[in-house]
Symmetry: C2
Subunit: 421 residues, 2 copies
Amino acid sequence: MSRVSRRRALTLAGVGAAGLAGAAALTQVDNEPELTAAAAATDAVAFTGANQAGIVTPAQDRLHFVAFDVITKDRERLIKLLRDWTAAAARMTAGRDAGTIGAVNGIPEAPPDDTGEAIGLPPSGLTITVGFGPTLFRDAAGKDRFGLAAHLPQALEPLPKFTGDTIDDTISGGDIAIQACANDPQVAVHAIRNLARIGMGAVSVRWSQLGFGRTSSTTTGQATPRNLFGFKDGTRNLKAEETDLLREHLWVQAGDGPDWLTGGSYLVTRKIRMLIETWDRSPLAEQEMIIGRTKGTGAPMGMTGEFDEVDFDSVGADGQPLLATTSHVRLAHPHTNNNARMLRRGYNYVDGSDGLGRLNAGLFFIAYQRDPRKAFIPVQRSLAANDEMNEYVRHVSTGIFACPPGITGTDDFWGSALFGQ
Amino acid sequence: MSRVSRRRALTLAGVGAAGLAGAAALTQVDNEPELTAAAAATDAVAFTGANQAGIVTPAQDRLHFVAFDVITKDRERLIKLLRDWTAAAARMTAGRDAGTIGAVNGIPEAPPDDTGEAIGLPPSGLTITVGFGPTLFRDAAGKDRFGLAAHLPQALEPLPKFTGDTIDDTISGGDIAIQACANDPQVAVHAIRNLARIGMGAVSVRWSQLGFGRTSSTTTGQATPRNLFGFKDGTRNLKAEETDLLREHLWVQAGDGPDWLTGGSYLVTRKIRMLIETWDRSPLAEQEMIIGRTKGTGAPMGMTGEFDEVDFDSVGADGQPLLATTSHVRLAHPHTNNNARMLRRGYNYVDGSDGLGRLNAGLFFIAYQRDPRKAFIPVQRSLAANDEMNEYVRHVSTGIFACPPGITGTDDFWGSALFGQ
Ligand code: HEM
Ligand code: HEM
């Protein structure tokens, strides 16, 4: 039987093939090795802070998202889980194992406390972000499940049904959501898988989604990626540097609702199937009219640079507005929505094929905001009613979660203030 | 309306934000720009050669695999498709678009000949590898669909049913398979999606699989990755440098079967669901016994280094062999299988959850070999009968395809020799 730690393997990897001779020694190591220079030089994102990481953090390339049903009825068990999760998340985001990989506490029959597939991999920018769904506070019958009903924020209501919605309930909602983002998908998958393992008996995976490529920039330094319609996406996103706007539109402020959520944010998820085969048959000019930006540069219609201001007024030779009244950008823009802003953080997905000869592909839309009633909901209403793009998309899953503020001390845990601890 | 090419956007990206002012000019470019220094400096894999790329090519990190049903009945249409595909694959592996992104041949109503989501991305090591399934040669009723039945290799038979198989036919088989591997998943997805687009009306997507992380090394220089059981995978794989072994075990040789396949290889795919939650509950010692290697270093049981020879004979204090008789490594090893070898090239996958509270995760197993009757089939028989690992895995999809040799000239296309052209 051997023991090994993620960080130690990493150090070993750094010394090259010659280090393999030392492998036997490695398998005897019993204590979590200290942070070494080699490991420290990697790309870890700080786990603690006033706000949770994984929101304004420069959008990582890959996503593994999971929504859990809580199956325990025991409040203390739930609190213990949140404590254990927080500790494991702190370890994993630092590039460490979720727990000991070898015999646990000297008991050889115990299963390892880490599943091992991230051994040797650096932190890879991993962030783990948690949110609580409305059903954690009270169930469908209105029952207060864990003594939390009094702390339910008014804004944390299941999203309304929008025109055209084709939602599959089995992949929607959930009591607790966890978003793992990393630049290496193996690291993101490892994180969710280990949190699910730790939660065994207390929670059950309700649904889960992999995203292979980010569709947003969340800092001004990041290049704008492209979605599966082939367009740049995230150009006019809220950005980490816009601290005044983040205060106004992203972070829940004192007095907005229950105190436990101050410094947190509301997370909305929408899995949006994109009918890419149909899209691919439409001419470039039509695609650009539907989005309201050019495909090559991402410039707004009538402008030349990606970051030029959107021009609502200019008309073309035909007397029609250059930015069509049914274009996505016009309908989603703050001007049209009472200055609504949100931080988008979505990912492209492909889930195999659909049994009808087509790829099952689309956008796993993620948005964070201070109040969904002033951001996602009105914007989606406007899109659902008039967006020409609707012909090419189907919303198949929906979720809303209240994400508590960041972890601030070693005793702190996800939801500590919610549980009054 | 704008025009843009993948390579030109890439060059532009290279010059930074200042280049955005030139974007208007860019959108007017009508001809495919020449290769620039910036683009040439990226990681393209040669498309042409005696064998297809994507087999011994250093295993890229990400996979998008698709199997198509041919829906046209017209042999000439099929040949044209294979020609068009070959041309598009040559372009995309060089980091170019599949075709013009702007108005095609000056017709503004025509849809773009590339979908755009890879604009600005480098080649990313993209390889595109094609294989023909038995059903392309004759259908279930034995009918010769395209005048190819006489060229059906004897070894290209649907795989037998193995003990314990739980195969889903709807995600198995297929007339033509295409494997796209790249270090950027967006590039791999873009490739398959554009080939599917080009094939519209002639082929239909039967099934498709994304793989987020490689589970094999195919060259001695590559670090061994880990599968979702947390173990190093690919240690004792066939490697690109072992040219004598590749001749013996990987590439179809003259006289093996029909001439058109000489220089090709047989591709076997198996989607293997891994019951990771059950695995995660078993002790480390048991996991290591099942695999036959240690989890930390990947050394064979009783040895110290990952690349040490497997030791079949040593016994432990209890008199039992250190390498259990039911261990995966013992049962899969060439010693136990009449010296059978194959080149494994699999990928980890997570396809959301299974509706029963668990992640739907596993290994998309891919193996290339000279003759499946001497490699995959006997090895899988041995595993299916005795592998302790069977308790933790379920084979849910199966496929076999004959991959023609590489593209050797500008007029050459995938399957040219098969179609006698
Ligand atoms: C598959 C579905 C969608 C696609 C393909 C898509 C694509 C795009 C693209 C290409 C842009 C322009 C670039 C940018 O500023 O980021 C954009 C902007 C935007 N989208 Fe979407 N989007 C989708 C769904 C949604 C949804 C569901 C919402 C929210 C309800 C949304 C809200 C926005 C907002 C707020 C903007 C910025 C508008 C501006 O300020 O000019 N999008 N989207
Ligand atoms: C989920 C299923 C599987 C898992 C998790 C798995 C895992 C592993 C691991 C960890 C090794 C040891 C490292 C190495 O030498 O690569 C290995 C070796 C090997 N596996 Fe698998 N494997 C699976 C399925 C298969 C299948 C279906 C086959 C072929 C029928 C196969 C054939 C082999 C071979 C030939 C070796 C090398 C044995 C040797 O030469 O020592 N594996 N596998």
